[in-house]
Amino acid sequence: MKITVCIGSSCHLKGSRQVVEQLQYQINQHNLKESVELGGTFCMGKCQQGVCVTVDDKFFSVTPETVSEFFKTEILEKLT
């Protein structure tokens, strides 16, 4: 599974750093380093919906507030 987070200007200002750090933390907590790859990308062209995140090419709009919920429903549950 590959998660990609936009680190472009717009998403950066909307908190992509916190999103990345949260995801890194969660992945470590759940020992998912083997099955989840976390990466960055520049602008996905959907800045209005930032922070832009894709999981295996499926698009999500995430914020620092919703990131743990997103991780639970879209990553953890899909993996088990």
Binding site: S9, S10, H12, L13, R17, V20, E21, G39, F42, C47
Partner: protein, 390 residues
């Protein structure tokens, strides 16, 4: 003609309790390759000294740059300087470094500590000729320039540092030579070298300088072109033209901006890999693209670079942040401030629809302003700047 150029930087500290500095550095560019640098130290400290040194350095630099002889300069100063009512003399010492065609340096020194020349990391004792003008003993030297030559001119506040505190006779010229030999070829800019020297002086004074102290460093270096791409072109069809112009230029290549680097990646047919390593910094991470020396995010990063540039030109206090960190803004600073001498900006004027959101602190006019301000700062650092818009 050769491909050498000069990097000039200086820093002063004031006598404790004074708001004005009695030392003054004046730099006049005679033409593209010739420069006159004057460091003058006015008698005493405070307002009087400041006026004396400002007049002296301004008069000499202007006259020398117009091709007048040193004899004329000295006579003019003697006839013009206001006479101190307490001491009955008009007096300001000076060091002149006249760089001619980036090939020769002519040094003319009157009563300041002898300028130091460090060549290949070692002190180089250049020959001096003594001459007398109006009863003043003036030393004159002519030195053929070599790459990596570092000249250090200073006011007597430097070797007097620490008198009676740390040293009996102050921080002597020989000690300063040893200090500078260690730093001269470590890749620092002149501004940073002068900062290191003056900061050390300040430390030796116990941060209560007993005199104004100034160091002016002139470094002879090879020209180093650098190219920086910022923003996509306003007309989509211009992408290829902009990219081919940018990549055909000699020197390193920096790309700022997410969309811009995506366009470049398409042009180069190479993958663009954004990193998610956040260094100790508030700017977004950098990316990797084969064939490009540095890829960063755009507006936020460049804004940070601008604030570092403004600091560099004033107190140079954030130096230790940007010169060692690995975030996008710091890396750009290292390339532009330390490495580059000739910088070509390729600026795209495309409007990014995502940036027009009123909630965001970035928009098109800010981006154009950033380029203007940054190129103004870089020019002030003595770099040659060319900006092309697309």
């Amino acid at each position: 003609m050769n491909n050498l150029c000069t990097d000039i930087g200086w820093k002063s500290i004031n006598h404790a309790g004074e708001q004005l500095c009695g030392d003054h550095v004046d730099i006049v560019e005679q033409d593209e390759n010739s420069t006159v640098i004057v460091l003058a130290d006015g008698l005493g400290s405070g307002v009087k000294a400041s006026i004396l040194s400002t007049l002296t350095s301004k008069i000499i630099s202007t006259m020398m740059a117009s091709g007048l002889s040193i004899e004329d300069c000295v006579k003019t100063i003697a006839a013009t300087l206001p006479i101190c009512s307490e001491r009955g003399v008009a007096y300001s010492t000076f060091t002149i470094i006249h760089l001619i065609n980036n090939e020769t340096a002519e040094l003319i020194q009157y009563d300041n500590p002898m300028a130091i020349l460090i060549r290949d990391g070692k002190n180089y004792d250049y020959p001096k000729t003594e001459m007398h003008i109006d009863g003043k003993k003036i030393f004159r030297s002519s030195v053929k320039l070599q790459e990596n030559d570092v000249f250090v001119a200073m006011s007597d506040g430097c070797p007097h540092a620490g008198i009676g505190i740390g040293y009996n006779f102050g921080w002597q010229r020989d000690d300063i030579i040893i200090f500078m030999e260690a730093l001269a070829n470590a890749g620092y800019t002149s501004k940073t070298l002068s900062t290191y020297l003056v900061d050390e002086v300040n430390k030796l004074y116990g941060e209560q300088p007993g005199d104004d102290a100034t160091a002016c460093v002139v470094k002879i270096r090879r020209r180093e072109p650098m190219n920086i791409l910022f923003g996509p072109p306003s007309n989509r069809n211009d992408c290829d033209r902009m990219m081919s112009l940018f990549f055909s230029k000699e020197g390193k290549h920096i790309i700022c901006g997410g969309t811009t680097s995506t366009i470049a990646a398409k042009y180069l047919r190479r993958p663009l890999r954004a990193s998610i390593e956040y260094e100790k910094s508030d700017v977004p991470p950098i990316a990797k693209l084969e064939g490009v020396d540095l890829v960063t995010e755009g507006v936020i990063t460049v804004n940070k670079v601008l604030s570092y540039a403004e600091d560099y030109l004033s107190g140079n206090e954030l130096y230790e942040e940007w010169s060692f960190r690995k975030d996008g803004a710091s890396l750009i600073c290292q390339l532009l401030f330390e490495e580059a001498t000739d910088i070509n900006f390729y600026v795209g004027r495309a409007m990014n629809p995502a940036h027009q959101n009123p909630d965001l602190p970035i928009n098109f006019s800010i981006k154009m302003k950033l380029v203007e301000e940054l190129s103004r700062c870089l020019k002030q650092m003595g770099k040659r700047i060319k900006v092309s818009y697309f």
